[in-house]
Amino acid sequence: MSFDLTTPVNTALLLYILYTVQRILFPSNSVPSTVPIEFKSGYSWMPKSHPPTLLFKTYTPKTLEPFNGEEGKRILLAIKGVVYDVTAGRNFYGPNGMYANFAGRDASRGMAKQSFDVEMLTPIDQPLDKLEDLTSEEIESMKGWMDHFSSKYIVCGRLVENDAT
């Protein structure tokens, strides 16, 4: 059998061999113009964004109040000046939840007295509840709730008076 370039099979194979040899002898040096965002797309890659974190903000009763879960907003709740993000507990604290009263408010007194009544909440434009008249058991139960919240939900801010920016 002689090497005959006129047959299409031989030509095709020759071209393919030349192409492959060229890729081996002269490898591609191209670097993608945009840095890949996934490890599958290239060896040098950079994640698209930083891992999401929650910014620790300072809230006042007025700025905290909108975060009550309506219209898909986050649900925040404050106990003794510490603001927790309880969006994960939408069933309890979201609109129509059992404890929806506490969403976006300072729930310290309610946690201490183990009550979810509206009387436990201080109106937004008044100074924060000083909690001076609570017994030591009530303070203990409030601290217990704070531990529960710290382990179950995320601490994401602190609550200060309305004019204390």
Binding site: L25, S28, V31, S44, W45, M46, S49, H50
Partner: protein
């Protein structure tokens, strides 16, 4: 405030092994193989003996008091520095070191030492300075080398280093009380870029932690062993240089420093380049295996190798570069490929001599490395390259890249939140990696709004950890700060964190 402390809340490693509590423990007493430190062939037990003799001599002959005196070390790197340092540390006598001669006058004024250890060549200049500054203080000067000056010059008492060691060896050896790891054993003075004097106090624990993080710079498969020879461009008078030297001592390797790290000489300063790297050939050490160099050493070495390769065979050089670069883009680099044998090994042998075969890792520290210097360096040397960031207050590296990382990125785009100088630095520098294994880094003053929108955080860099020393001149009301917020040291540099967790640090121009 954004906090980038990583790790799984474990405690930071503070020492390489349980036995290494204080500085002298880094000289392991039970390994007695001999190795060459600068020009001296010595084993660990012999080194300990010399340290004990010198320490005894210091107390008996020079009359220093443990915990009362302090000694200024104006020595170039050498075995005398090491012995003096270890002796002072074991007798709990704090030592002062200067990271450059310009700091000498302020230190003599603000912190007059009880004794000064100096080389004979630098003695005349030192005497001039002392006569100019406070003349009321009685100095003891211990001279290394030969000098023909009188034993007593007015209020100054001149002693010879070799005499102290010899007399100390002949006397009964004093066994001092073991210092605690948290005791300060040295204060390292350095100048900030705007010329102010700063000092860092380093404890035994800072140094053992620095040795731990320096050892961790190389991959486990290529860890430092007694077969290595370490060459360092960082003077022992700096915190990082000391950590590197004590790593070499701990691991039992041969060790030498470059000529540019000697700054107490009568000669003019040397630049950081190829000739400097070759200066280490004057020491009787084996061919170097690990280089702790500055970026200018690396760039001059790699450009010399590439120029030589291009000169000798132009066609093969282009092809070899193309193949090696394709390998790097795919994450693959080796020193034994066909192209190395054809093209690069000859060039390396011509430039580096025997080092071409022995150098197996390069750690770059001390100045920012440009991103465009990375690929030529990787191709020219084809060994693991670590880009690290150091600071005069930290023993050991602050931030260090992974040695097997071959990623290359184009210039980082500028962000609106940072200044023009920052943008320039961050755009063209190679990333310096995440914090080292026992350092926490924090950025203060970050623009939260920009970061919430997805930009990289840029702010002032603060570090904390067992290898970070305490800055003097900084008063902090530490009692008011809660326990977990204490201990942060301001580096005075701005840094940017990229989304893969690596940092880029903009050092203010000197």
């Amino acid at each position: 405030m954004r906090n980038y402390g990583t790790g799984m809340l474990g405690r930071f490693p503070v020492r390489p092994a349980k036995e290494q509590q204080v500085l002298l423990d880094l000289v392991k007493p039970d390994s007695d193989s001999s190795r060459t430190l600068w020009s001296t062939k010595i084993t660990n037990p012999q080194l300990r003996q010399r340290v004990s003799a010198f320490g005894t001599g210091l107390i008996r002959v020079a009359g220093l008091d443990p915990e009362e005196s302090n000694v200024l070390l104006l020595l170039n790197d050498g075995i005398e520095f090491l012995i003096t340092d270890l002796a002072l540390a074991s007798h709990s006598i704090p030592s002062f070191t200067l990271s450059s001669p310009s700091v000498l006058t302020p230190v003599l004024e603000e912190h007059p030492p009880s004794a000064i250890v100096v080389h004979a060549e630098f003695l005349p200049q030192l005497l001039e300075l002392i006569h100019d500054s406070n003349d009321g203080v009685h100095h003891t000067i211990i001279v290394v080398g030969n000098t023909d000056l009188d034993k007593h010059l007015g209020a100054i008492r001149l002693l010879k280093w070799e005499d102290i060691e010899r007399q100390g060896a002949q006397a009964d050896q004093l066994t001092p009380a073991t210092p605690k790891p948290q005791d300060v054993f040295t204060v390292s003075f350095f100048a900030t870029p705007d010329g102010q004097l700063r000092g860092t106090s380093l404890t035994h624990e800072n140094l053992t932690a620095g040795v731990t993080s320096t050892r961790a710079l190389l991959p486990l498969s290529g860890a430092i062993s007694p077969l290595d020879t370490i060459v360092s461009a960082h003077s022992l008078s700096t915190a990082f240089g000391r950590a590197v030297a004590y790593t070499a001592v701990f691991e039992g390797t041969n060790f030498a420093t470059l000529k540019s790290s000697q700054f107490f000489t009568a000669a003019e300063t040397t630049s950081f380049d190829l000739a400097d790297l070759k200066s280490v050939e004057s020491y009787p050490i084996p061919s170097p295996t690990l280089l702790f160099a500055k970026p200018s050493h690396l760039t001059s070495l790699s450009s010399a190798i590439l120029d030589e390769a291009r000169r000798s065979s132009f066609f093969f050089h282009t092809l070899a570069w193309r193949h090696k670069f394709a390998g790097i883009v795919d994450g693959f680099l080796t020193k034994q490929s066909l192209w190395d044998r054809l093209v690069f090994d000859d060039a390396r042998a011509k430039i580096m001599g025997k080092g071409a075969g022995t150098v197996r890792g390069v750690i770059v520290a001390g100045a920012p490395l440009e991103a465009q210097a990375l690929t030529p360096a990787r191709i020219a040397l084809s060994v693991p390259l670590v880009n690290s960031h150091i600071h005069p207050a930290v023993a050991g590296p602050v931030l260090a890249s992974h040695p097997l990382d071959l990623q290359t990125f184009p210039t980082t785009p500028a962000t609106s939140g940072s200044s023009a100088a920052d943008n320039f630095a961050f755009a063209y520098q190679a990333p310096v990696g995440p914090p080292s294994i026992n350092v926490e880094a924090k950025l203060l003053g970050v623009d939260d709004v920009a970061v919430e929108d997805g930009a990289d955080p840029i702010g002032a860099l603060f570090v904390r950890g067992p290898s970070v020393g305490k800055l003097l001149h900084v008063e902090q009301g530490e009692e008011n700060i809660p326990e977990e917020d204490r201990g942060w040291v301001e580096t005075g540099e701005r840094a940017r964190v990229l989304s893969n967790g690596t940092f880029k640090v903009a050092i203010q121009a000197k």
